[in-house]
């Protein structure tokens, strides 16, 4: 047990055992799937009609938004280029299906039906239509285990959507609300603030909803505040999700080093400092 916990040395064995076990799991998933399929098949016409109406309205809304967002994205990229900022990394998404959540009292995980054969990598974020669900923590060939936001000490760097304040959301274990840690009392937070991924960690792409602040306890004498949040994405509602094949190194600009070689002048940009650019004409 210690070997597995500390060194991850037994992962090949786990992979092989999984290879045997997975067909059995699929067999046992059949009753549930059949039940769901039949109940879907027998939905009444009126409910389908209703659903259709809602979907149409939603689709109209979304396509409008999509047209705008395309324009905004191009504009944003152009502006970023003008400012010589790093480009936003584009990434692919991979539709995944949630197979089951294994019964495990300690952690809160789900198993999805895509693995390393589909291009999934360790640490890829998983999201559904409303927000981030979790992160791939163990990879098999045709399936993967995803750790959910609720998992203990599962951290996501976030940004408050309203004012851009950066923080980190931590999972507090099953059944407990998420916590926003390491924030001073005076920080500008309100109940109902939406937390988006900030993207500074290089794991989560920026701008995806993670959680909503549900309760704030300010503690003036310790200069700290306990902020509790609720994840945006409901885990158990849908079986479909998206994996982001996000790699911030991909498509990133190579670091500029030619300013020294031309003139022999000392380096203006020491490593580790932010790239500065002379303004105006020279």
């Amino acid at each position: 047990m210690l070997i597995d916990f500390r060194f991850k040395a037994l992962d090949p064995i786990r992979n092989n055992v999984n290879w045997i076990l997975r067909p059995l799991e699929y067999v046992m998933m059949a009753p549930r799937n059949i039940f769901e399929a039949t109940s879907e098949y027998f939905t009444t016409r009126s409910s389908l009609d209703q659903e259709n109406q809602v979907m149409k309205a939603r689709q109209a809304e979304l396509s409008l938004l999509a047209n705008q967002s395309e324009f905004l994205m191009v504009e944003n990229q152009n502006l970023r280029e003008l400012m010589a900022l790093q480009k936003q990394v584009t990434f692919k998404t991979l539709p995944v299906e949630i197979l089951f959540n294994p019964p495990n009292p300690i952690s809160q995980r789900i198993v999805i039906n895509r693995g390393s054969n589909d291009g999934l990598k360790l640490g890829n974020p998983i999201a559904n239509d409303s927000g981030i669900l979790g992160q791939v923590v163990r990879l098999y060939e045709r399936s993967a285990e995803v750790s959910l936001l609720e998992d203990r000490d599962f951290a996501v760097p976030v940004q408050v959507a309203r004012n851009g304040l950066r923080a980190a959301v931590f999972g507090a274990g099953r059944g407990n609300p998420l916590e926003l840690r390491y924030l001073p009392v005076a920080s500008d937070l309100e109940v109902g603030d939406i937390l988006l991924t900030s993207g500074i960690d290089g794991v989560y792409p920026p701008g995806f909803a993670v959680a909503v602040i549900s309760k704030i306890e300010r503690n003036a004498d310790k200069n700290s505040s306990n902020v509790f949040c609720v994840p945006v994405a409901a885990v158990n509602r849908y079986r479909q999700a998206l994996a982001f094949l996000y790699d911030p190194q991909f498509d990133a600009k190579a670091p500029v080093i030619d300013n020294k070689s031309a003139t022999g002048a000392p380096l203006t940009n020491t490593p580790g400092r932010r790239q500065t650019r002379s303004r105006g004409m020279q």
Binding site: M1, I20, L21, M28, P102, P105, R109, G175
Partner: protein
Amino acid sequence: MIDIQSGYILRPVNPVFIYFSLLCALLLNLLPIGNYGWVPDWLIICIVFWNIHQHRYVSIIWAFILGFLMDVHNSDILGLHAFSYSFVAYLAISWHRRIVALSVLSQALHLLPIFLLVSLFPVLVHLLLTGEFYWWALTGAIQALIEAMLWPLATRILLSPQRRSIDVDHNRPL
């Protein structure tokens, strides 16, 4: 083997039935019910049962292998269930003479600590490895209670092939 409850001599056990029941229990454990603490662990009931009644067929090795499978399925640390299952199998074998002689209800009461051990073992290991006590996982106690309550049912089902009468009277089947 003598059935203490009824006083009759049981039929010899069919090894195929033993392995079939273990496979069924494993499959029941793989059912995608969800991550609830109270869902009974069918496999451990089956393992303990066969270790008490027929420990020559189902040994600690079997408990270890099945526990290993459960570890992979539950995405636990490898060896967690393997160890607890085989330890419990050992306990069951060493208690089997005493337990078989009891009535079914007191058997269930005797096995409650065994089931509790299996259910709470992950919490213990988590405490040792990370130093955190995980209160939420104590719902495993409910699981152990349910397993103990299922014990009479398990006895009834798993012993039924051996309780069939030897000379069946076809005119009066009961």
